[in-house]
């Protein structure tokens, strides 16, 4: 087990290097002057040059990369051009808020998705199966940013039941686990959960259906095992695959919440990213993407290892 873990860990290093190169390259492919957004519109050429030097943008590219990666290894990710604050502070705070939202969406999506998928797979080709399949396909097909807007209009503006924006009445800094704060989570988390509900339900349905149709299940029945025992066997067999799908989905929830965070003004990494894009705040853009991608890489690693722990066959392949 440990050797498998180490082997996977070593494989991650070149990927992490590649990710850093891609993130660095992002800034280089960006057209225009990253300082435009923050200089007063009537700044003189001399002031512009001074600022460019202050941000290190006057040096050759490889030098900029080496400086960047060197700083990165010391935990220094540069400063946001727009706010002047350290990128690391901005990103980690925001990623925390995104994690909260992603976790809330996962808590909604995974049990519901698993339950629905299991029902559909177990009662394959019944009305229930068709209904759940239709539902999950709808979930996967709906543009969630649009759904978010619709939910705000219904539940915030018209009914006034739930807040339309923000992470709690006092902002994300004084987050507490009470209803006054958690009601801010409801709409964005539900919106975000719709797609993974569909995906998890579809996966679990296929798994459960496949396994149920396998020979060994018939054999188990033949052995005289009860319905419940058979179910338990089926569940264990499906767990490894389901887990990997859910692990990936959690990563997608974190990286994919940008549109939802924009709709709900949720102070997470996606919101930060969209601000960075519109202010052309490239160090911030770079840092946010780097951290999210690294998180995703870590997530994949954990999923792989967990999967191998549950289902030993995977290690050998």
């Amino acid at each position: 087990m440990l050797s498998y873990f180490l082997r996977r860990l070593i494989l991650v290093l070149p990927v992490a290097f590649g990710v850093s190169v891609v993130c660095f390259a992002l800034v280089q492919i960006a057209p225009g002057d990253p300082l435009t957004a923050i200089m007063p519109v009537d700044a003189t050429a001399e002031q512009q040059a001074a600022m460019r030097a202050a941000y290190g943008l006057d040096k050759p590219l490889p030098v900029q990369y080496l400086i960047w990666i060197g700083n990165l290894l010391q935990g220094e990710m540069g400063r946001s051009i727009a706010s002047g604050r350290p990128v690391a502070d901005e990103v980690f705070g925001a990623v925390g808020n995104s994690l909260l939202l992603a976790a809330a969406a996962a808590v909604i999506a995974f049990p519901i998705g698993t339950f629905l998928g299991f029902l559909a797979g177990y009662f394959r080709d019944t009305i229930l199966d068709r209904l759940i399949t239709a539902l999950s396909i709808t979930g996967v097909s709906v543009p969630n940013y649009w759904l978010g807007i619709v939910l705000v209009i219904i539940f915030s503006v018209n009914l006034g039941w739930l807040p339309s924006m923000g992470a709690g009445p006092g902002g994300s800094q004084d987050w507490q686990w009470d209803w006054a704060h958690m009601r801010h989570l409801v709409l964005p988390a539900v919106t975000l959960a719709v797609v993974p509900i569909g995906i998890v339900a579809r996966t679990v349905r296929a798994l459960a259906g496949d396994i149920l149709s396998m020979d060994f299940v018939t054999a188990l029945y033949a052995k005289g095992l009860s319905r419940g025992d058979v179910l338990r066997h089926v569940a264990r067999n499906a767990a490894a695959t389901a887990l990997s799908v859910m692990g990936l989905q959690l990563g997608y929830l974190l990286g994919g919440s940008i549109l939802i965070e924009t709709v709900f003004n949720w102070p997470g990494s996606g919101f930060l990213l969209s601000n960075a894009i519109f202010q052309r705040d490239l160090p911030l853009l770079q840092g946010t993407i780097l951290i999210l991608a690294m998180f995703f890489v870590g997530m994949n690693l954990i999923v792989d290892v967990a999967q191998a722990a549950i289902d030993p066959r995977i290690k050998r392949s």
Partner: protein
């Protein structure tokens, strides 16, 4: 079953109670700003007009402030941290300022002349310990006239200018005074100051969460008793997306939003929300190219274009929230004067002028115009420009648009009309802050400020205008200076130097609970008079 029902009832009750707690306590005003971040809090703010409005003129003061108390008079300069100022009778480059006695910063330290010197060094002297590139980037370009400064005594300050410049008081209204003692207490680290800033303004910054909120509380010892805030708290929330702002207001999460989308205004009014607006020195215009070969060099074409736009009809697009331009500054401005040319809608006159200039239905004029689909203060640029395109077509002017992103637009604006990057565009659609003589007139048309060295995008240069600008700078009596400014504006309009389209009215939507707010004719606001009804 019974238990369940009881549980549900209890849950519903607790939800209702929490909801009530969530509502604002009396005396708290929550504002949704259009900025995506809290403006720089250390003194000299960023985020343009909104920065000075919410963090500048609240937490800080300038030596000379804008009067923000009247809705029906044009806003003028009033004493701030300086009570009196005058230029030396002999040497017109030397100014003496008498500072206000007994002013304290939020941290308790005393304001004096040495503090002003320290603040100017913060912006202008790169060698000084307190030099802050971020504040300097925002403030330095606002005070181009200043050559030197020194404290004569505790309450007397001397400022020298490079050349005689009577617009210095207007320049100083940009510069916010932060506390030296506080900067020292915060380990001389501007980043720590950002968390715990200290100014002399009527509001103290209590808490500040980047990108999320800032909470301001009254400064009871503020030097102007009439401007000690009545509210318990002022909360600023960045909500850059206009629909998110509308939803936040309508669901009761904020009490006031800046710049509601015009289409949401009827729905807001229908739900009892109040729309406040007023004229202020803002101008939405096409800055015309005057480089050789530009069709806009012909005054007949310029006047024809100005006469071809039905500005009233354009108002429908903006929910009526605009003031049709009658000149370069809004009608009612102290500098409007009495121009002869009236840029109203008169298609016949427009066509007559075009015929005179040699154009007609079969010989149409083609022009290329730079526009951007968005941008700060740009109102609704695409529909408005398309409307102008349709209007000008009636006067036989065919407009081809060059559409670029706002950031790129700023670059092209800096580059000027003669730069290859504008690809031969003959006008640029820009929004101007025109609150003082320099930003209002001089920077756009001064021969010495031709782009890319300055902000005269169109390369306009005219001797008569040059003399007028010189006169503005050398007329030190404010009333006489206003008179020169009126003559300058008359020339702006009579020569139809811009395509004068519209002025924004700074619409803001607020809950009926917001009371006592007076919207001045200024980019900045006074929040001190506001109270929240039950």
């Amino acid at each position: 079953m019974l238990h369940l029902r009881k549980g549900l009832a209890a849950l519903a009750l607790s939800v209702a109670m929490l909801g009530a707690q969530g509502a604002a306590a009396q005396g708290t005003l929550r504002i949704g700003m259009t900025a995506s971040d809290i403006p720089l809090t250390t003194g000299q703010t960023d985020q343009g007009g909104e920065g000075l409005r919410f963090i500048g003129y609240t937490v800080y003061d300038a030596l000379i402030n804008w009067d923000l108390t009247s809705a029906d008079q044009p806003s003028v300069l009033v004493p701030g941290l300086a009570t009196e100022w005058a230029v030396d009778a002999e040497d017109k480059t030397k100014w003496v300022f008498t500072l206000r006695d007994g002013v304290t910063f939020h941290d308790g330290s005393t304001f004096n002349a040495e503090n002003v010197v320290w603040n100017l060094d913060k912006l202008l002297d790169e060698g000084s310990e307190q030099y802050d590139p971020r504040q300097s980037a925002q403030g330095k370009s606002r005070i181009p006239a200043i050559a030197g400064y020194r404290a004569i005594d505790d309450l007397t300050l001397e400022i020298t200018t490079t050349e005689p410049d009577a617009t210095l008081p207007y320049q100083l209204a940009w510069i916010m005074m932060s506390s030296k003692a506080n900067w020292e207490a915060q380990d001389k680290d501007w980043e720590k100051v950002a968390q715990h800033p200290s100014g002399t303004g009527p509001w103290k910054l209590e808490t500040f969460v980047p990108r999320e909120r800032a909470e301001l509380v009254p400064f009871a010892e503020y030097w102007d008793d009439t401007r000690v805030p009545k509210l318990d708290k002022l909360v600023l929330i960045p909500l850059p997306e206009s629909n998110a702002r509308s939803a936040a207001l309508m669901s009761g999460q904020v009490d006031w939003i800046e710049a509601p989308a015009p289409d949401t205004i009827p729905a807001m009014q229908g739900n009892g929300f109040v729309i406040s607006s007023n004229a202020y020195p803002h101008n939405w215009t096409w800055h015309l190219s005057r480089v050789e070969g530009s069709p806009w060099n012909d005054i007949r074409v310029r006047k024809a274009a100005n006469l071809a736009i039905d500005r009233e009809a354009m108002g429908a697009l903006l929910g009526g929230l605009m003031i049709p331009a009658e000149g370069f500054v809004p009608p009612g401005s102290q500098w409007f004067g009495e121009p002869d040319f009236k840029p109203t809608y008169d298609l016949e006159a427009a066509q007559a002028l075009m015929t005179e200039a040699g154009f007609g239905p079969d010989n149409r004029l083609k022009v290329k115009a730079l526009i951007s689909p968005s941008g700060s203060g740009q109102m609704l640029p695409l529909p408005m420009n398309e409307y102008i395109q349709q209007s000008l077509a009636q006067a036989w002017i065919d407009v081809e648009f060059m559409v670029v992103e706002w950031n790129q637009m700023i670059n092209l604006w800096r580059a000027g009309a003669a730069d290859p990057s504008v690809e031969g565009s003959q006008s640029i659609n820009f929004t101007y802050f025109i609150q003082d003589p320099f930003t209002g007139f001089i920077r756009h048309l001064d021969c010495d400020l031709v782009a890319p060295n300055g902000t005269n995008w169109g390369h306009y240069c005219d001797d008569e205008m040059k003399d007028l600008f010189e006169e503005i700078k050398t007329t030190f009596d404010p009333a006489a200076q206003d008179e020169v400014l009126r003559r300058t504006h008359e020339k702006f309009v009579d020569d139809a130097l811009f395509l004068m389209v519209t002025h924004d009215v700074a619409p803001r939507a607020m809950s009926p609970k917001v009371q006592g707010f007076v919207q001045p004719q200024n980019w900045y606001l006074n929040f001190s008079s506001i109270t929240m009804a039950e």
